[in-house]
Amino acid sequence: MKAIGIILAGGTYHGLGTLVKKRNTAAIPIGSCYRAVDFSLSNMSNSGIRKVAVMAQHNTRSLADHLSSSKWWDLGRKKGGLFLFTPDMSSSVSFGFRGTVDAMYQNISFLKRSNEPYVIITGGEQVNRMDYRELIKYHKDKNADITIVSKKMAGQDVSKYGVLEIDENNRMINFEEKPFEPQQDVVSLGTYIVSRELLISLLEETHKEGRYNFVTDILIRHRRKLRIYAYMFDGYWRNARSIEEYYEMSMEFLEEDVRQLFFKTEPYIFTKVKDEAPAKLNLGSKVTKSLLGGGVINNGTIDNSVLFRKVYVGDQAIIRNSIVMENTTIGRNCIIEYAVIDRNVVVSDNQIIVGTKDKLAIVSKDTIQ
């Protein structure tokens, strides 16, 4: 293969609130049985990349658990593998990852010991399908130094993204990170391709200068010196930074086009296999417009909701417009509406947890209600 992969799972989106209190952003559950990082990992594997490093430093327990075997993404190969790199605390002068450049620099031996010509860098929380082979081809055709996967977001508020100014050949002329008053509508999706050797020298140089950030210290600083191109991606792409965005994205998984894209289109999105039994719908069960994970047992009413694996729903309980994560029990006669209920929650009988479209009810992981 021509490339190795780096998945940066360092950032924490505080807007996700309690969802990321006990888990890394890359490990947030999505679409009944996936974790956010499954999308990037599957894209890598499905593009023929055999060697992937995930770099993370906060709340890595559930992420490490999820990535404990490389076989689910078909990355457990002789020539390849799946690596989870967390900050190394063994030396006398040790730091966490002080930025994206620092995360990669601290693991520069991963780059130096490879011989693939390219590196694909992406985030651990991006929900999309992408064939990186097309990206590599574009990068070569443009004879680019760095190519940024970008998306035109006409008419949307792009002030939370990195915004690119590009010329008619898609070469980047300018880049503004989270601009107050965006002048352009082409945003960076946080996925890059760069040749491995160039990346190594950029990392070493940037580190020497005491700089740590890929966007500000490499992309912006080198914007004139390097040939940086935008690769326009126009498919489905989400990156939930707040509970509201997370909820909205989860509900999109109930729509046919999104379901077809992620569940029924080969090559598939892979996740850790958990061997749950089929979902069981008992007498009195009513389910409409919902996704159910394996091992769900339902006795109640579920409408317009996303249930993860092993959720148990008691008699006469009603769940509407909600997301209920793995291994959670909803007691009898409960009413759950506009709620996001995290993993391993027990909601006792007769509880009412009702939010509104604008103010969702959130229940944290490992709690009893």
């Binding site: 679409g31 992620f262 999105i269 061997d275 039994a277 089929p278 069981k280 007498l283 417009k289």
Partner: protein, 425 residues
């Protein structure tokens, strides 16, 4: 040489002819069961859950799907550096090697495999049954009794005992007599076809039996001869769920039982999981106008119609306006819109057209195969296509790429077969 304490030899070569069209292209152990599983998954999962990491699977009849399903054993965690799962199909050697002619003959032909694992005990299993059993407890019992052979037995109702191989035991559970399907049974302890032998003893018995019988069989030869020789053969009583799903009716019934609110057989046991091989397990989607009650639905299925008392396999699609009742729909099968399916089994990768009725008509037994189809269940085989607007009666079997012209006035009357042979047989 490293020694394995116990290895399992799993007999999975049977056709299961009483399952009719369901085993036309696949061996019985590879027939789907309980939505996402195949029958052999229960035995394979029992092995790993009992701590047995070396399993030889003996295949013969239509082995392709079975061999693909097992692969290198990853889903059962049987991909091992030492041991693991090995598919043992009949082979030809310089002097020996031929089709497996009996259960013991099959093991006899694989003595070299067993020797290569150097076990102390050998557990003989079959891939035909639905049950959860901790073989390690049976092995402890075998050692405790210092037995030459231990046979797992099930207490069956006395009135059914004549259908089984019956063990007559003394007060210490030592087997004194074995009777195959006795007219007047003396006990109700039926053999489950699960045996543990000391390998040295079994090895000798296999070689001797093979000299005497062309079709050396455990039930007919090995066990009775060991009892005759006054060897120590003990019964091990198993008191839990065990189903032989060998007939269309038993198969259908056992699937239906899984949809009960609290089924006798629990698939949801966190500490005794049943593993299977699915390449991809997305969630199941239930559409806006769907109704689903008293049913099991498997990963990746999409339900737009109504499902009652039914078991739906992975990636099956049930179209809008269709009603599936008391039926089994297997993996990757599509039922189009406004079709009614009642008391029927639709096997894998089939397409049932729109506006069909399957399982409706007079309940008369099958004309030529009443021993297979007589309880009202109609069976649609693997990779079968049924065009729009067809009516199929009860106790029917249909297989192949059928077209409108294959039916008389768009109808297949109860008790009939319609089998279109494919180009590649």
């Amino acid at each position: 040489m490293a020694q394995k304490e116990v290895i399992a030899m799993l007999l999975a070569g049977g056709q299961g002819s009483r399952l009719g069209i369901l085993t036309k292209k696949v061996a019985k152990p590879a027939v789907m069961y309980g939505g996402k599983y195949r029958i052999i998954d229960f035995t394979l999962s029992n092995c790993i859950n009992s701590g047995i990491d070396t399993v030889g699977v003996l295949t013969q009849y239509e082995h392709l799907l079975l061999t693909k399903h097992i692969g290198i054993g990853i889903p059962w965690d049987l991909d091992r550096k030492s041991g693991g799962v090995t598919v043992l199909s009949p082979y030809q050697g310089e002097k020996e090697g031929t089709w497996y002619s009996g259960t013991a003959n099959a093991i006899f032909q694989n003595i070299r495999y067993i020797e290569s694992q150097n076990p102390k005990y050998v557990l003989i299993l079959s891939g035909d049954h639905i049950y959860k059993m901790d073989y390690s407890q049976m092995l402890s019992y075998h050692k405790e009794k210092d037995s030459d052979a231990t046979i797992a037995v099930l207490e069956v109702p006395m009135e059914d005992a004549h259908q089984f191989g019956i063990m007559n035991t003394d007060s210490n559970n030592r087997i004194v007599e074995f009777e195959e399907k006795p007219e007047n049974p003396k006990s109700n302890l039926a053999s489950m076809g699960i045996y543990i032998f000391n390998w040295e003893t079994l090895r000798e018995a296999l070689i001797q039996s093979n000299e005497l019988h062309e079709n050396s069989d455990f039930g007919k030869h090995i066990i009775p001869e060991m009892i005759d020789k006054k060897m120590k053969v003990y019964s091990y009583v198993f008191n839990d769920y065990w189903k032989d799903v060998g007939t269309v009716d038993a198969y259908w019934q056992a699937n239906m039982e899984l949809t009960n609110t609290v089924p006798e057989f629990n698939l949801y046991d966190e500490f005794w999981k049943i593993y299977t091989n699915l390449d991809h397990q997305p969630p199941q989607y239930i559409g806006e106008n769907a109704r689903l009650e008293h049913s099991l639905i498997s990963e990746g299925s999409e339900i737009y119609g109504e499902i009652y008392n039914s078991v739906i396999g992975p990636n099956a699609i049930i179209g809008k306006g269709s009603v599936v009742r008391d039926s089994i729909i297997m993996a990757n099968t599509i039922v189009k819109e406004n079709t009614k399916i009642d008391h029927s089994i639709v096997a894998e990768k089939s397409i049932v057209g729109a506006n069909c009725e399957i399982g409706f008509g007079e309940n008369i037994p099958h004309k030529t195969k009443p021993h297979i189809y007589s309880t009202g269940i109609s069976v649609i085989g693997d990779e079968t296509i049924i065009p729009d607007g067809i009516t199929i009666g009860k106790n029917c079997e249909v297989s192949g790429n059928t077209e409108h012209s294959s039916y008389q006035d768009g109808k297949l009357e109860s008790g009939q077969s319609l089998i279109i042979e494919e180009g590649i047989v």
